[in-house]
């Protein structure tokens, strides 16, 4: 492939990283032109989110030598995005973010191919995600992160010694910002903690007591939440409030304003109303740029091995001076999402009841009062009586049948673990393998949560 001198000079900086060895490289690093070419040819990256972080990420990744990118986002462009989501123009307002972002980056950076997906992340089949080598997240909610994390960890498989199988690992790089603050983390399922291992890192949303809103509002946010949570239902019985409908938002704003006047409170504005109702913290373009840049570089490092990667959580706080710190977070060994689970081999004839008895004798479990769930089907519930009764007939059925005759799969159980006085309620992931069945592959599923 003949490359023009313009293309050669474009990769000059990247070449310095990829063509020569160095003291800080990863053990797997093999520098050379092949590496640069493989990056272009073999590596497929998914960017989740085409907003403040997503725009930056697409640009950064495209300029870092990645050629095959895809982007998924369910939102359309709004006027208020334009100050920082620099790939969008005024005439783009109303168009899907993913579509416009992909188009703009491809226009500017030749040779880059970006496919866009204008839909919810849950709308894509799981297979869609398995196609990518690495997933980069530019999201704004714990819920969306939790979903992608579960999908990526779902591909992970462990060997019989509970070691993750490298070819099944789907790494993620997660960025997030809130005003002056941000974080970057590298999630290598099975190796570093997954999102669910450390969900406590996420601040719980502040919620005001309803009676404060109703009776003793003290600030503008109280007035807005009153209009949003209480007054709306009172006036529009049955109609659900849609935060993306400007008429609804305007109504809440007007009501909040009236209430604020009544109580002599100031500070209710339309944009603050939007902020409170949609839980928006003003985004700062430069925070997004810093966080995205770190994410793009980590992605390059993970893929090429040209340097050691972030291990594994970077927090950045530019609010009061500047503080930044890297923390090596710990994996939770019995994480329901990324952990290996306990391997159990069974005969296909074992009934659910027999299986539950076995858990009581299992040296790693000693589980009593067991309830069992398999991929969203509740196989047996100890309580409440209404569910116990509905699931009781399953007890005499072979577990193999209840698991749709799947040779190997994940099942979740909960009950009381431990012995004597130390009994403790717990929830466990089990890797079930049925003996004497011919399988296509010989690896164990680890995901499923």
């Amino acid at each position: 492939m003949a490359e023009t001198s313009a293309q050669l000079s474009r990769s000059r900086d990247l070449d310095k990283l990829l063509l020569r060895p160095g003291p800080l490289v990863d053990s797997s690093f093999e520098p050379g032109p092949d590496l640069r070419d493989d990056l272009k040819e073999y590596v497929k990256v998914l960017v989740v989110g085409a907003g403040g972080l997503g725009c930056e990420l697409l640009k950064d990744l495209a300029l870092s030598g990645f050629r095959n990118l895809e982007v998924i986002d369910m939102d359309r462009i709004e006027v208020s995005n334009l100050n920082r989501q620099f790939l969008f123009r005024l005439e783009d307002v109303g168009k899907p973010k993913a579509e416009v972002a992909a188009k703009r980056v491809m226009e500017r950076i030749s040779g880059v191919d970006i496919k866009h997906h204008f839909c919810r992340i849950e709308d894509k089949p799981i297979d869609f995600y398995s196609d990518f080598n690495i997933i980069v997240l530019g999201l704004d909610s714990a819920e969306a992160r939790s979903y992608i994390n579960a999908v990526a960890c779902g591909f992970l498989e462990y060997d019989d010694d509970d070691n993750p199988q490298p070819q099944t690992i789907k790494p993620m790089v997660d960025g997030g910002t809130e005003g002056f603050k941000g974080h970057v983390r590298v999630i290598v399922p099975g190796v570093t903690p997954c999102f669910e291992c450390t969900i406590w890192l996420f601040p719980v949303q502040v919620k005001f007591p309803l009676c404060t809103l109703a009776e003793t509002p003290r600030n503008a946010a109280h007035c807005i939440e009153y209009a949003h949570l209480i007054k709306w239902d009172e006036v529009h019985s049955g109609k659900t409030f849609d935060p993306d409908n400007p008429e609804h938002m305007q109504w809440v704003y007007q009501e909040a304003l009236k209430r604020a006047e009544l109580f002599g409170i100031t500070g209710v504005t339309y944009s603050f109303t939007q902020g409170v109702v949609k839980n928006i913290i003003p985004a700062i373009a430069s925070t997004n740029a810093i966080i995205s840049a770190a994410c793009a570089l980590e992605t390059l490092k993970i893929v090429t091995g040209c340097s050691k990667t972030l291990s594994n959580y970077l927090m950045y706080n530019g609010a009061d001076g500047l503080h930044t710190k890297v923390t090596d977070l710990m994996k939770s060994s019995d994480c329901l999402v990324c952990g290996p689970g306990i391997l159990i081999e069974l005969e296909t004839s074992v009934t659910l009841r027999k299986f539950m008895d076995m858990l009581e004798d299992h040296p790693k479990l000693h589980l009593t009062r067991v309830s069992v769930t398999y991929r969203g089907k509740n196989l047996y519930m100890q309580a409440p009586p209404v569910l116990e009764e509905m699931t009781r007939p399953n007890l005499e059925l072979p577990l193999f049948d209840l698991m749709s005759k799947t040779r190997k799969d994940i099942i979740h159980v909960n009950g009381m673990a431990g012995e004597g006085d130390k009994k403790q309620s717990c929830l466990r992931k089990l890797r079930i393998v049925f003996k004497g069945i011919d399988g296509v592959t010989d690896v164990d599923m680890a995901g499923g949560a």
Binding site: A150, K207, L210, I230, R375, A383, H412, N414, S425
Partner: protein
């Protein structure tokens, strides 16, 4: 990891025709935790739970409370619960589906219970919330009013409050508001 990716690419081609894994239904970590909460429920005899969408949808359910002491004795009050996929990071959304004359529950069914909002902690569970709701009926309090009229009557004239509650749960007007019978 590029080398791994290349290996994977080849594997994919080989495995193209092999039959794959079972259809995957993602069970969120929230659902699993909820499964544990529900299977460990230990409700007082005054409370019961039902699952309108069947045994496999635990994320939406109803709790029925029939107080056997206090002002609300004999009434039947239904609450709907909606659980988020990131439960217990986020509290369940609870609404009272029975129109009730109560200082801490408004006429739209909003409930003022601290553990549902400002004091929710992931260590709490569904059982705690149900007990909290039950407690609202045995010990309604005028200090956290969502229905200020009812709260004022409870504070200033408990006897009138008692007769208002009786009238409401038997089906009748309290002031301008009609309450359907819920006994």
């Amino acid at each position: 990891m590029i080398k791994l990716f290349k290996v994977k690419e080849k594997q994919k081609e080989l495995a193209e025709n092999a039959n794959g894994k079972p259809p995957v239904k993602k069970q969120s970590a929230g659902e699993l935790r909820l499964h544990k909460d529900i299977s460990e429920l230990n409700l007082p005899k005054t409370c019961s739970i039902s699952f309108p969408n069947g045994k496999d949808d635990l994320m939406n359910f109803e709790v029925t409370i029939r107080p056997d002491e206090g002002y609300y004795t004999g009434g039947t009050f239904i609450f709907s619960f909606q659980i988020s996929p990131i439960y217990p990071h986020e509290a369940p959304k609870v609404k009272c589906r029975t129109k009730v004359y109560h200082p801490n529950i408004d006429l739209e069914g909003n409930v003022c219970l601290n553990i549902l909002r400002e004091d929710w902690k992931p260590v709490l569970n569904i059982n705690t919330i149900i007990y909290g709701l039950y407690h609202l009926f045995t010990e309604p309090n005028h200090e956290d009013p969502l229905n200020p009229d009812a709260a004022a009557v409870l504070r200033d004239n408990p006897r009138l409050f008692e007769s208002n509650v009786r009238r409401a749960i038997s089906g009748g007007f309290v002031g301008q508001t009609f309450f359907p019978r819920c006994i």
